[in-house]
């Protein structure tokens, strides 16, 4: 089912939760709504579910307005962070409860529930109570319960946050598998960028109630529209070098360093700018390549396949990956160059991307 949100706005009293949010989710896609806590991503989910009414704006399911429709008429399945299984019902009871509400005959609803349990691989646990299950198993049951009535839209609210790291990896692959098998249009709310990057067809990145960018995960990473997007994605976080353009060169704030930055030619002179460089986009250049600037080594972390270095460039801290066989000692100076890919120039005031 195609889901359109147009100018969707939600205010709680004077608090703005979501403001002028316009996004289209394509049929059969898994879309993550990603953002820091309090950015309004869960509110968007609740608006889609119909649990909270919209202040303004429209929601369309396959072209039909559902903005004023109560949750039960929207044909959605909902999965909560804490699973919210009914503790007094067995796994089978939990999964078939939505059908019980719909007054589906017992034999039929148990058959559907069993099929759904098999899909999420809990068919051997049908007569257990939720408290006898692990977190991952509980989440599988919750997904089965949400899917059993064949919803047009599956909404997952931070479904992996309560799981330990190992289970989280396993369950996100499972969610992807289940989604691909059922082809149900899915919205996955998370604050974990890695989770969103690995699982999604598209990512909707939000901040402070507003849409920041909506795109494929890789494009979001490689072509951020503003500084927030660049900052939010990527581990370790992207480096910031504040400064301004003068005579086609980037002058680092404080004036100690001056970089002939060829791509910076079109940037406005005099304005405060941020040169943002991904950790993997800086490297130690070959002697003939020519260094952009020199950095003093503060500390080096060797982590198996890669070495992460912490540097000081003109008073600004900077992180980048080094070749595995290179372990410079702290206090020494090394040359550093940037690659085109993963180097961005943002307006220092608005955060908009310039280059």
């Amino acid at each position: 089912m195609k889901v359109e949100m147009r100018g969707l706005t939600k205010h709680f009293g004077s608090t703005v939760a979501v403001e002028d949010f316009t996004v289209t989710l394509e049929d059969g896609h898994l879309t993550s709504i990603l953002g820091p806590s309090g950015c309004g991503k869960s509110t968007v989910l609740n608006l889609l579910a119909g649990i909270v009414p919209a202040t303004r704006g429209e929601i369309l399911f396959d072209g039909e307005a559902v903005t004023g429709l109560p949750p039960e008429l929207r044909g959605i399945g909902l999965v909560f962070q804490n699973y919210s299984l009914y503790p007094h019902m067995t796994v089978l009871g939990n999964i078939s409860f939505p059908l019980e509400i719909k007054k589906v005959p017992r034999a039929q609803r148990e058959e559907s529930a069993r099929a759904m349990a098999a899909l999420v691989h809990v068919d051997n646990l049908l007569h257990r109570k939720p408290r006898e299950l692990s977190g991952g198993q509980q989440q599988r049951v919750a997904i089965a319960r949400a899917l059993v009535k064949k919803p047009n839209l599956l909404l997952l609210d931070e479904p992996l946050s309560n799981l330990d790291a190992r289970l989280r990896l396993e369950m996100r692959e499972e969610i992807r598998r289940i989604q691909q098998e059922t082809r149900v249009t899915t919205v996955f709310v998370t604050h974990d960028q890695e989770e969103a990057m690995s699982i999604s067809d598209r990512i909707v990145l939000m901040n402070a109630g507003r849409l920041q960018q909506e795109d494929e995960p890789q494009r979001l990473y490689h072509e951020p529209r503003n500084q927030f997007v660049a900052d939010f994605l990527g581990t370790p976080p992207i480096n910031h070098l504040p400064g301004h353009m003068k005579g086609g060169a980037f002058i680092l704030e404080g004036g100690q360093a001056r970089f002939p930055f060829s791509r910076g030619a079109g940037a406005p002179e005099g304005r405060p700018l941020i040169l943002a460089v991904r950790a993997e986009s800086a490297h130690v250049p070959d002697p003939d390549e020519g260094a952009l600037f020199s950095a003093s080594v503060e500390s080096i972390y060797a982590m198996g396949k890669e070495v992460l270095g912490y540097f000081d460039i003109g008073g600004h801290s900077f992180r980048c990956y080094l070749d595995g066989d290179m372990l410079p000692r702290p206090g020494t100076e090394i040359p550093i160059a940037f690659r085109e890919r993963g180097t961005f120039l943002f307006d220092g005031e608005t955060g908009e991307r310039l280059l």
Partner: protein, 304 residues
């Protein structure tokens, strides 16, 4: 072992001393329990078997079952058992059901809820005697508000406090009223332990209020309901205080409203028959004990 620094801890190597040390710390507490709880209980058990017991001298004629035999033949005691049984059998379920409904309403986030909560918890902070007097006026045959309300529905005037056949019901109504606040508090805390997402999940799936109430709220409240049933059965079995203000300090208009504890009080303080009072107390204890055990067994089966 022989290091000089370790000598003062040497007693730790003696197992007896080590076992007794915690006991020494516990002694004050254990002594308090022994004096204020254990001794009275044991004394009541012994007293119930002593015939012709004089408390001041401590003398008694012989040990035997005479006190029990007397009490179990006493028609006032049998009447007290009946009254108490009816009282418990009506007040406990009624207050449980009412408290679930009221707690469910109070649990909603509606403006002005604080006012309602205060109103419902009022009985808890009112002295039983003062509230009892207020109820006495409300039960009044000619001027009472209860008869007035009933008259709107065409009911005749009921002589709540003077007619023996109605007096137990007056006591029951007052009993439900006085036990409700505490019961509601327990239910409310039980309700607040139910995560709201359970309701949202059911609502998204299209469940109506009635189904949510019976399929989700009540089962998830079951542990609290069990606790309430147990606590209230015990406390209503001991109904006593409520009788004084309503019936001018007598057990009902024509001595028809003895309850077991009132009977014990009567035998002890009025008639000075300590052995009989103790025997009646033992019988009440055994009955409550058996009922509570049965409840526990049933609840354990029910919750699995």
């Amino acid at each position: 072992m022989t290091a000089p620094g370790k000598r003062k801890y040497a007693y730790r190597d003696r197992p007896l001393a080590r076992a007794l040390e915690p006991l020494a710390y516990l002694t004050p507490f254990l002594a308090a329990i022994a004096v204020f709880t254990l001794y009275p209980v044991i004394n009541v058990v012994l007293m119930s078997f002593k015939e012709g017991y004089q408390m001041l001298t401590g003398r008694f004629t012989q040990v035997g079952m005479e006190n029990y035999a007397y009490v179990l033949r006493d028609r006032y005691f049998i009447n007290a058992l009946q009254n108490t049984a009816i009282y418990v059998a009506v007040v406990v379920p009624l207050s449980t059901i009412l408290s679930i409904l009221i707690a469910n309403l109070l649990n909603r986030k509606v403006k002005g809820m604080a006012l309602f909560q205060t109103a419902y918890f009022m009985p808890m902070v009112t002295a039983v005697t003062a509230a009892g007097l207020a109820w006495k006026f409300m039960f009044s045959r000619d001027f009472g508000v209860i008869n007035q309300i009933l008259s709107w529905f065409g009911a005749g005037k009921i002589n709540w406090l003077q007619a023996p056949e109605w007096s137990l019901w007056a006591l029951i109504i007052y009993g439900v009223w006085s036990i409700l606040p505490f019961t509601i508090i327990l239910m409310l805390s039980g309700l607040q332990n139910i995560d709201e997402t359970h309701y949202i999940a059911a609502r998204v799936d299209g469940a109506k209020s009635a189904r949510i109430f019976f399929r989700i709220t009540v089962p998830m409240l079951a542990p609290t309901i069990g606790l309430v049933l147990t606590i209230n059965t015990i406390s209503t079995s001991k109904v006593f205080n409520e009788i004084f203000p309503l019936f001018n300090g007598r057990p009902g208009p024509s001595y028809n409203l003895y309850t077991v504890v009132y009977y014990i009080y009567d035998q002890f303080y009025i008639k000075w028959k300590l052995g009989r009072a103790a025997a009646a107390a033992m019988i009440l204890f055994l009955i409550i004990f058996v009922i509570t055990m049965l409840q526990q067994v049933i609840q354990r089966k029910w919750s699995h």
